[in-house]
């Protein structure tokens, strides 16, 4: 049995990194904001996925963060792109469009 859910999850996961970086390129955000934006586009099903990813991106030097006090809750961790992150994102953008083109062409030929 082919599990389509699994394939979909794998696809989402592949582009999640790109999406997070893109969201952050529009302005600093803390995890809840990122999640809300991702949820709008139904890219994230479970929130838990985000945190390990953010930590890993931060550890590889693409992201950094600052603490901001919150009036209503715990202090918020605002993530932002580093310079490396910006260049990395540009590269990803390019390869993403190439990939979409290639995939579209392949799919359309099949049709």
């Amino acid at each position: 049995m082919v599990n389509s859910e699994n394939t979909k999850a794998q696809m989402r996961k592949g582009v999640l990194e790109l999406c997070i970086l893109s969201i952050l390129s529009q302005g600093d955000a803390y995890p809840t904001e990122i999640i809300e934006k991702l949820k709008e586009t139904k890219l994230v099903v479970v929130e838990g996925t985000l945190y390990p990813l953010l930590t890993r991106l931060k550890n590889t030097g693409l992201l950094t963060y600052r603490w901001e006090e919150s009036t209503s809750g715990p202090p918020r961790k605002y993530y932002m792109l580093t310079e490396i992150g910006v260049t990395y994102l540009k590269e990803l953008h390019l390869s993403w469009y190439e990939l979409v083109d290639a995939v579209n062409k392949t799919i359309n030929k099949q049709d």
């Binding site: 996961k13 809840t32 999640i35 390990p52 990813l53 930590t55 931060k58 715990p74």
Partner: protein, 608 residues
């Protein structure tokens, strides 16, 4: 009405219902379990906790202050199942760390299987069910095995008691899980992880700075360090295996020693040679309470160390670090108790050896010129002899023990249910001061005082028997059990007047003991020959073949009634004529010998 718990998530205080709290804390520790080994695990955790705090905050208000089960469910739905997103994290990092942690999870490593007693399904102490869990055996078989071993000198009982003491009971949930070694599901892991995290936290707090230093040092690992680590690991593993082998040996030898001790002390022997130890204890120790004191003392004195060996072996084998101070303490006290009892009985018994007494009995001997001395083998029926220290028994055709090499050995025999001690008597031949042949039986024994020793000596039974010129000596004397073994001994002294001749039969080998003679002939060479008493001691009459005594003993036996060569004895005048020549001894001061060396005349004056 529900009880609430106050918790702190990311610095925000929540009141949460108890069951909701249980669920949430389980959830959190499960997540922690996944990220424990991943890089930045703590950071991920705090991010997640901050988010949870936010979500919970949105669910509470001034009106609804308490976090409910439904709120926790909402949080868990939003966050997702840990196995979903933790798997993602690991896929992305692609690091080996993740793979390890995942494997560990698969193998249920968080809870290691350990040996505990199962208090939930116990018959006595839960030992069998605990071991059953450990090895995956139905405890019924273990119970049957132990029960069978119980009839084997009570080994089963001993083992059970030792195991009961050595193995801790599974009291906490973690211990119960470890005992059953259940494959880790999320709940199990969360429990294990929680404890681990708590331990780590404590350690971190305690050794915070040291830990940092260590981490810093470990970070830049070079290959040499890795090799050293690898070698170290290998050595540690070899050490562990050796330790296990030692543990197995300790248990096995402990059980064997125990069986030996049990057999010795209680006479329920599985090794035939052990019967005798018990018989000897009975034979040496005094009757009544001293006997039981002695048995008890010996049991404790040797048994406690044996038990401790088995105990230590089991602890090594199952890596039981749990130690009970009372076990060691009471073992020490019991051992000391046994030691004191042994000492008491020992001293008391020893005192019974302190005084010695000798009793002399004169036995009439019908005078003959040549006395033939031989040994009467006391027929010792094999069924009577329960034990013997003699390894060199000979049996004749009728199945009797007929000869023994170790003449100093004592034996224990039984006759009509009465136990008695058998000892070897000895013979000495000396010159009589009178002209009568005398036989004196010296019976020796020891005791607490002279009277008792004397009484014991008198009680020794020893028989000789004369038929015409043949005197037969019993080889064994007999002591009743009531008298106990008190170094009893019997020596027969044959006083022979000058010029009387004795023929020492071959059977006397080992019975004659250090008999003085003019030629300093060794006891073993004195047998099978005729000896005449002279002023200076026994003198051999037919000792020419001494050098080839082997031949003479084995090929040319000379029966006393039909000697190989004619011998003429003229006793009154002290004249002996045989193939050697003529020998004249007037018993006073003159000796004349005519033989191949010529004529030799010896007088007292010459000698002086």
């Amino acid at each position: 009405m529900n009880k609430t718990v106050t918790i702190n998530i990311s610095g925000i205080i929540f009141h949460i219902e108890e069951d909701a709290f249980d669920k949430l804390s389980k959830y959190l520790s499960t997540i922690k379990g996944y990220f424990n080994k991943a890089d930045g695990g703590n950071e991920i955790m705090s991010d997640i906790e901050a988010r949870i705090a936010e979500m919970l905050q949105s669910k509470t208000s001034a009106v609804k202050q308490v976090v409910l089960m439904s709120d926790v469910d909402f949080v868990m739905d939003a966050m997702g199942k840990p196995e979903e997103f933790a798997g993602d994290a690991s896929d992305n990092t692609g690091s080996s760390d993740r793979a390890e942690s995942y494997d560990a999870y698969e193998n249920g490593e968080p809870i290691k299987k350990r040996l505990y007693r199962d208090g939930d399904s116990k018959v006595l102490g839960g030992v069998c069910s605990g071991i059953g869990h450990y090895f995956g055996i139905d405890p019924v078989w273990l119970r049957i095995a132990l029960l069978l071993m119980f009839f084997f000198a009570g080994t089963g009982l001993l083992l059970y008691i030792i195991l009961w003491i050595a193995i801790p009971e599974a009291k906490t949930t973690t211990e119960r899980l470890a005992m059953k070694g259940e494959k880790a599901d999320i709940n199990n892991i969360s429990k294990a992880v929680k404890e681990e995290a708590e331990q780590l936290k404590k350690r971190m707090e305690k050794y915070g700075s040291e830990f940092k230093n260590m981490a810093a040092r470990n970070a830049p690992r070079n290959s040499v360090e890795k090799i050293i680590d690898f070698v170290g690991d290998v050595l540690i593993n070899i050490g562990r295996v050796l330790l296990k082998i030692i543990g197995v040996c300790m248990v096995i030898f402990g059980v064997i020693f125990f069986l030996g001790l049990f057999g010795s002390v209680f006479g329920m022997s599985f090794m035939t040679s052990n019967v005798e130890v018990q018989e000897w204890i009975d034979m040496v120790l005094m009757d009544g309470k001293d006997f039981y004191f002695g048995l008890f003392g010996i049991s404790l004195f040797f048994g406690i160390p044996i038990m401790m060996i088995i105990y230590a072996g089991i602890k090594i084998l199952f890596k039981l670090k749990y130690s009970n101070r009372w076990v060691n303490l009471s073992a020490g006290v019991l051992w000391l108790f046994g030691f004191v009892m042994c000492l008491y009985v020992g001293i008391k018994t020893g005192a019974d050896f302190s005084k010695e007494a000798k009793v002399r009995e004169k036995i009439e001997v019908k005078p003959y010129d040549t006395l033939i001395l031989k040994l009467n083998q006391v027929p010792v029926n094999l069924s009577e002899v329960q034990a013997s220290t003699d390894d060199h028994d000979y049996y004749d055709n009728e199945g009797l023990k007929i000869n023994r090499h170790h003449q100093d050995d004592y034996m224990i025999g039984k006759h009509n249910g009465e136990k008695y001690l058998l000892g070897h008597a000895h013979l000495n031949i000396i010159k009589s001061q009178t002209d009568r042949i005398e036989m004196i039986i010296v019976k020796e024994s020891k005791g607490n005082n002279k009277n008792i020793a004397n009484e014991r000596a008198k009680n020794i039974v020893y028989l000789t028997n004369q038929t015409d010129s043949v005197i037969a000596f019993d080889n064994l004397f007999r002591v009743g059990n009531a008298d106990k073994f008190r170094a009893q001994d019997v020596t027969v002294i044959l006083k022979l007047p000058v010029n009387k001749v004795v023929y020492l039969d071959k059977s006397l080998l080992g019975f004659i003991y250090d008999v003085e003679n003019t030629t300093n002939t060794y006891d073993g060479d004195m047998i099978n020959r005729r000896w005449m008493m002279t002023e200076y001691g026994l003198k051999c009459i037919d000792c020419d073949g001494l050098n080839n005594s082997y031949e003479e003993e084995h090929e040319l036996p000379v029966p006393p009634s039909a000697p190989g060569a004619p011998t003429i004895n003229i006793n009154d005048k002290g004249v002996i004529i045989n193939e050697e020549g003529i020998h004249i001894d007037d018993k006073k001061d003159t000796k004349v010998t005519i033989d191949k060396h010529g004529v030799h005349i010896e007088t007292d004056k010459n000698k002086k």
